[in-house]
Symmetry: C2
Subunit: 153 residues, 2 copies
DNA sequence: ATAAATAGGACTAAAATAGTCCCCAATGAA
DNA sequence: TTCATTGGGGACTATTTTAGTCCTATTTAT
């Protein structure tokens, strides 16, 4: 299914909330309450996002978290790679030395083409896009074509 | 990292081998030997691919597996959805009823746009492409841009 | 000082994935 | 017609990954 982890999903929810409250420092506790995600989990995600420089943190009383850039400068690709590491579909695309079966495997170049296409798709959507009303963005026909895929499974 | 499961990776290796030996029936045992993947695992993957109609099987002595279509008609999207189910990045994109937090969540439409872009990328590469020599397909510049992403992790 | 926050990391629990095995069904050949 | 060969289906186990929690240290406003 080419799944994103739950934590990444949570991260987009948290960041969307923050983007709507742009320029305001939010404490972890506030974000947990607002999103309904447990505090320790929110906290873990926020720390990761700080390390990836998506957020800036302030310690101490009245501290909290703030977006490190404007919502239209933060892409989905950035968020995903912050939580999951490099955006690539196979192990061998990440480490340059390839897999054990490197000798018999001539297909890594093709995965790179695929990875690049996926990366471009993720790079083209920003946090600002995500908080826009969605009606402007769904071409109904595309949903139908996606669903017809599901049938084969 | 947006990972594909190992089984899917194996499937591409197995199918690539079969594509190179197109029109020849291959037994599971032969494929296991050729790819270095354990027989029970190969067998499991082959069964899945038969169910998804990517392969056709023949039982009994001299039986085995055959591609159900020409290599240039079998896309990577087909292979991936055979093994992993619908190609979508979030749970909520699959079931139409959305997640528990549906009320507060306005972003599913945006995931659909992303899913579609990814699906198109995967649909545009076929098994025939994958067995071509890879030199013809890697634009070096794209690799550099992909690597610069990895740094942030 | 003290209370309110984040930082870092260890740890546990739960879930998904990978891998194996067994018994059945089909088929071709001796 | 019997037997070796090959796939079909599914249960089961082990492993790995992911999710989630918790503890202690550090920072800072009041």
């Amino acid at each position: 299914m080419l799944r994103l982890s739950k934590l990444t999903d949570y991260a987009t929810v948290i960041l969307s909330f923050m983007a709507k409250n742009n320029e305001r420092v939010c404490a972890a506790m506030e974000l947990a309450t607002a999103t309904g995600i447990a505090l320790p989990t929110v906290s873990k995600i926020l720390k990761t996002l700080v390390n990836a420089k998506v957020l800036i943190s302030t310690r101490g009383a009245k501290g909290g978290y703030l977006l490190a850039a404007a919502p239209d400068k933060i892409t989905v690709a950035t968020i995903i790679s912050a939580l999951e590491g490099p955006i690539a579909v196979t192990e061998c695309s990440i480490s340059q030395q390839g897999c054990e079966q490197a000798a018999g495997c001539n297909i890594s170049g093709h995965w790179n083409v695929i990875n690049r296409a996926i990366y471009n798709a993720l790079e083209s959507v920003t946090l600002a896009d995500m908080i826009k009303p969605q009606e402007t963005l769904i071409p109904i026909t595309s949903l139908y074509r996606l669903e017809s895929q599901n049938v084969s499974q």
